[in-house]
């Protein structure tokens, strides 16, 4: 466990030193702040637009970080040949993979926290000094704590993306890993269509195949409760709990796969 901790802290330190990461977070914070101006372009619903844009910024920039840092975690070590030195130390390969994963999740957690703080600051400014009648038009208050549940599920989604990026990076280069991870993320948003495939095709085999893919591929739609939260709709705690659980089990699955592949790789 200590080895995992050391590797995780190193990944975190390395990420914090990365100027690109700062640029991404700065851009996200700027976009969240600019949402206030964008909201002035419309009639009504300014709060909705700020919330939509804020949550979308956190999700998008988090996704960029997860993919572009995740794909380089293993590849960089191989490319720099530092992997040889690392593997001579008393570190098992599964500890190496898990440490890398935990380090990146820690980095994402800190960055999402920074973006969330900026998001709430803009919301507080928007809600400040608004009269009671205007408040009644809002489906949910500006500083709605329910937004945190949407952000928490975004973070869980990012954990899954990180796991997938890390999995691909154990056997392919950064470009291919990025394409594959992004591709899987896109496909993961069409999962509902796969489930309903049997309603549009006559072939039972095709329907079964689609149903199989529906369960096998990661379902990213399950983590998306942004619209519901912004509209002030109640999201059942059981739904959130099951989604979080799914977001724990699936990364465990891909990380196991990553460890299996990485353990078989010959670095001699």
């Amino acid at each position: 466990m200590r080895a995992i901790g050391h590797i995780a802290v190193n990944v975190f330190r390395e990420s914090v030193r990365d100027k690109v990461l700062y640029s991404i977070v700065a851009f996200a914070v700027m976009l969240i702040a600019v949402s206030y101006l964008l909201a002035q372009l419309t009639a009504g619903q300014d709060l909705k637009i700020i919330k939509d844009l804020g949550l979308a910024s956190i999700a998008t920039f988090g996704l960029l970080m997860a993919i572009f840092i995740g794909i380089g975690l293993v590849w960089k070590e191989v490319e720099r040949r530092s992997i040889y030195g690392l593997l001579t130390k008393p570190i098992r390969r599964w500890e190496f993979i898990l440490g890398k994963y935990v380090g990146l999740v820690l980095t994402l957690l800190v960055n999402v926290a920074v973006m969330t703080a900026a998001f709430y600051a803009v919301l507080a400014y928007q809600g400040w000094g608004v009269d009671e009648l205007a408040r009644r038009a809002w489906p949910a208050p500006p500083m709605d704590p329910a937004l945190l549940s949407a952000i928490a599920l975004i973070l869980v989604e990012l954990m899954l993306v990180t796991g997938i990026a890390l999995f691909f990076s154990t056997f392919s280069g950064p470009f291919l890993s990025a394409v594959l991870t992004l591709g899987l993320w896109v496909i993961g948003h069409f999962n509902t269509d796969l489930r309903n495939f049997e309603n549009v095709v006559e072939s039972r085999a095709a329907a079964w195949l689609a149903r199989g893919l529906y369960y096998a591929l990661p379902n990213f739609d399950t983590f998306d409760i942004k619209a519901q939260v912004v509209q002030g709709q109640h999201v059942a705690a059981s739904y959130i709990a099951l989604s979080v659980l799914y977001g724990m089990v699936y990364p465990a699955l891909v990380l196991t796969g990553a460890v299996a592949i990485f353990s078989r790789r010959d670095f001699k």
């Binding site: 419309t42 009504g44 619903q45 979308a56 489906p139 942004k226």
Partner: protein, 290 residues
């Protein structure tokens, strides 16, 4: 130093280019590349709510730019497709249904002049949220104000009044609408109730504007009465408001609620709003349908 010079040069070039004749518009303002809500919903991945915001902003801009454009033939042809896409991407985008219906129903050229599309949009909202009494009230309102169909209006007010959470003035309003049709007093009552209950600032502004129009219509009726009285007493109609003031029928120049002077037409003895008054055009006389 070099930075300063280059920055000044960039700003200067921008200013010089702006002073030149602007580049001709490519004419893409009236293009909507994607019209299928189903496709757009899939293509938006998990960003459908944000894409709905983008389409809503585009709908507002399209309405505002067309309304303010100086051209003779104003085209609101994209308004309904944009609102349809917005509400398909985010079916609970309540303001898009309510404001969108106002944009669509408003008489041409101030709006699209399509109360039928306004009703279709609100009915779509009701299919999504069957208990949303505000949509039913707005449908009644479109029938009342724009279609002058008081039977349908009363029916929708009744339906809205029966929905959970609806204010208690809706059912009596339905009865008044049915009994008195579109007379000015029932119109005033409708707008006053909306002014008191609307939680969106833009709807309250609309209600205030319509109440000012109704006040102006009352004032025009009273002024035309004064003009007739002047003509009866003196044997000839007044040529200017000065004649009426000197005769003691008015204490000063008559101004509308937006502080513009009313216009006197001496040959016909009629009174109208100033062309500059923002209250133009006043609603047409209440002619019930059917």
């Amino acid at each position: 130093m070099a930075l300063g010079i280059l920055f000044t040069a960039a700003v200067g070039l921008q200013a010089v280019r702006d002073r030149q004749a602007p580049l001709a518009s490519p004419g893409t303002e009236h293009l909507l590349y994607v019209r299928s809500p189903e496709f757009l919903k899939r293509a938006a991945l998990s960003y459908d709510s944000l894409v709905a915001d983008v389409y809503w902003i585009r709908a507002v801009q399209h309405y505002g730019q067309t309304k303010l454009s100086a051209g003779q033939s104003k085209q609101y042809d994209l308004l309904f497709p944009l609102l349809d896409l917005t509400t398909s991407l985010d079916p609970r985008f309540n303001i898009a249904y309510r404001f969108g219906a106002i944009f669509l129903a408003e008489q041409y050229p101030a709006g699209a002049g399509r109360p039928d599309q306004a009703i279709a949009l609100l009915e779509k909202g009701l299919r999504q949220q069957p208990g949303k009494w505000e949509f039913a009230q707005d449908i009644g309102f479109v029938h009342y104000w724009w279609r002058k169909d008081y039977v349908q209006a009363a029916e929708w007010f009744t339906r809205a009044g029966a929905m959970p959470g609806a204010p208690n003035w809706l059912s009596p309003l339905a009865a008044v609408t049915l009994a008195q049709g579109g007379n000015r007093e029932s119109s005033r009552r409708l707008w006053q109730e909306l002014l008191g209950s609307a939680d969106a600032a833009w709807l309250r502004t609309q209600a205030r504007f319509r109440l000012s129009q109704l006040d102006a219509m009352d004032q025009i009726d009273a002024l035309e009465g004064v003009v007739r009285l002047y003509a009866q007493r003196t044997g000839s109609p007044p040529r200017t408001w000065g004649d009426v003031i000197r005769a003691g029928y008015l204490q000063g120049l008559p101004i509308d609620p937006e502080r513009h002077e009313y216009q006197l037409n001496p040959s016909r003895g009629t009174v109208t709003l100033s062309e500059r008054s923002p209250l133009n055009p006043l609603p047409t006389p209440e002619q019930p349908r059917g």
